[in-house]
Amino acid sequence: MKKSLKKFVDAIGIDMRLLGMIGALIMLWVVFDLVTGGRFLTPRNLFNLSVQTASVAVMATGMVFVIVTRHIDLSVGAMLGFIAMIMGSLQVYILPEYLGLGHWSIWIITVIVGILLGALIGAFQGWIIGYLAVPAFIVTLGGLLVWRGAAWWVTQGATIAPVDVTFRLLGGGSSGTLGDTLSWAFGIFATVAALIMMVQSRRRRAKHGFTPKPLWAEFALGGIATFLITGFVMIMNAYPLPKGAVKRYAEANNLEVPAEGLFISHGIAIPVVIVLAIGVMMTIIATRTRFGRYIFATGGNPDAAELSGINTRLLTVKIFALMGALVAVAAVIASARLGSVGNDLGTLDELRTIAAVVIGGTALSGGIGTIHGAIIGAVIMQSLQSGMAMVGVDAPLQSIVVGVVLVFAVWIDIVYRKRAGL
């Protein structure tokens, strides 16, 4: 039985670590669902979970590259706060003066400025690390203090509210979702894209005369992908808008609300779409571009990378710039979700992000890590926290549990790696 399972897993080409993570996540969900008497695995809670995970998940994808190259970025939480403050002032105080309140381009300008600022800050820190050879731990520890302080200076500590109306949609409130039709369209698009990619990969390998995966394995994999995507869309569509939002929706669409109410689906939240898009983009970068290849080579053996003609210093700058840009995206999601920006936004997010990446199977010793692992790691972390909050575990115990789980997960990973001879 065990052997045949391993054979099956080998044949479809999913690695055991990924399977272990998914197993752990499902176990966590089932346990919380049992303990809360069925309140955890509801469309409503899973929707909230997906939205709450988004900001850290986006940063986690960037942190994978940072950690794979044997660096660390402790400044992401503070950077998130600073960038969010700048974006907040821009869209609340500055842009409306020139464009008028609620102008359509406000959110676009804000997001672009935020991402550029993030990339710039990241590049600057990366330059100190790469070219001046100050360890990343120190540079970003300094960054943590600097950007948190700078976030306060932007408004002398005052909270900025409310953010632009369109900007808010990026945070996934009750109107910041795709709705049922678009969610289905998104699901179908994702499924078709996944299947096309599988077929193409098979064709490519056949062209070079490599032995392909058995056909049944391809079908199994395709089936699993289709099932997961469809299931996700169905769950998100099963969560209806609350009454107030339905009324607004009905007014906007000239609908009559019957006495028994209307069932309008949330559908997939916009921040989740952002996470998935970034996840795909970062996976392509990691596995299909030279930049990604150099990141992993440098993490595996920095000297070898340098001797192979890779400019590892410039690479460091690029990695941290990318990290910074992703922090800005996370800042957009986080501030849009709250609808306001306080100068403490993002506090401790660096630790959540690093924990997610490490639980997701990225080795601090460098060279090993995956984007999808980091995203699942973020989901595990958030599930743990939301679940405990739902059960009613007090905050101090919550942090104790999270800490223990983190160490335990990494230990399991080390044991696994030794066994697998990696």
Binding site: K207, G209, R288, T289, T298, G299, N301, A304, A305, L422
Partner: protein, 251 residues
């Protein structure tokens, strides 16, 4: 002797690590189609000298000439533009990547969209590996899972794949079995016939005497002397290595 311009000339190279002169005023040259052996005790400065040529180190002073023209080699990228390829003593492989990714590291095959084409690289790796080490079969494992000799095969393959004009081999057969060593010897002769110049570092005097045209001996960072193999015996070379004296001066 050779009237043509040398492929490589290293002139008065000096390089110190802290206070230690690892390479002290060494001048050697290399002609096309020639194998020059570098011999010397451990720590004599052989690896350091060739690393100056491969761009891993920059000399404190001295000059490098390629085909008679002054060459500025500041990093390994510069060396590659002069078609200088190196098999490092440490092999310089990224352990977490597979053989194909290592072979093409820094020079990946990309498709028309600019994405790396792993399948094409694996196919090319299989092809060349089939010629150099037919027993090699671990194409999808990371090189950390390979034996010492298999890793060395990957490093050798990488150096010869990209049409090197100048090849630096720093103890290329140290981890190889007799059959694989024999294949590397064949490879060296074949590359030589193709007009490639080779610096070969080895501790095996017998090997060096068989494969090389000239031998340079180093001791404590200094060049003891350079001899044509037909002019010296194994014992004389051994004496140069151990005593640091030229045979002519002795007789």
């Amino acid at each position: 002797m050779n009237k043509q311009t040398p492929l490589i000339e290293l002139k008065n190279i000096e390089l110190a690590f802290g206070g230690v002169k690892a390479v002290d005023d060494v001048s050697i040259d290399l002609y096309a189609g020639e194998v020059v052996g570098l011999l010397g005790h451990n720590g004599a400065g052989k690896s350091t000298l060739v690393k100056v040529l491969s761009g891993a180190y920059q000399a404190d002073s001295g000059e490098i000439y390629v085909n008679g023209e002054r060459a500025i080699i500041k990093n390994p990228r510069d060396a590659r533009t002069y078609n200088i390829e190196t098999i490092y003593q440490t092999l310089a492989l990224a352990d977490n990547l597979d053989a194909a990714s290592n072979l093409f590291l820094g020079r990946e095959i990309v498709n028309k969209f600019g994405f790396v084409d792993d399948d094409a690289m694996e196919a090319a790796t299989r092809k060349i590996m089939g010629r150099l080490n037919p027993n090699f079969s671990k194409f999808s494992s990371p090189v950390s899972a390979l034996s010492g000799g298999q890793r060395q095969s990957v490093a050798i393959t990488r150096a010869v794949y990209f049409n090197a004009k100048i090849l630096i081999m720093d103890e290329p057969t140290a981890a190889l079995g007799p059959q694989e060593t024999e294949m590397v010897a064949e490879l060296i002769n074949q590359l030589k016939a193709d007009g490639i110049g080779i610096f070969l570092i080895s501790h095996d005097i017998h090997d060096v005497m068989q494969l090389c045209d000239r031998i340079s001996v180093m001791k404590n960072g200094k060049l003891v002397g350079t001899e044509r193999v037909e002019d010296v015996t194994d014992d004389e070379i051994l004496a140069m290595i151990i005593l640091g004296k030229n045979p002519e001066k002795k007789s």
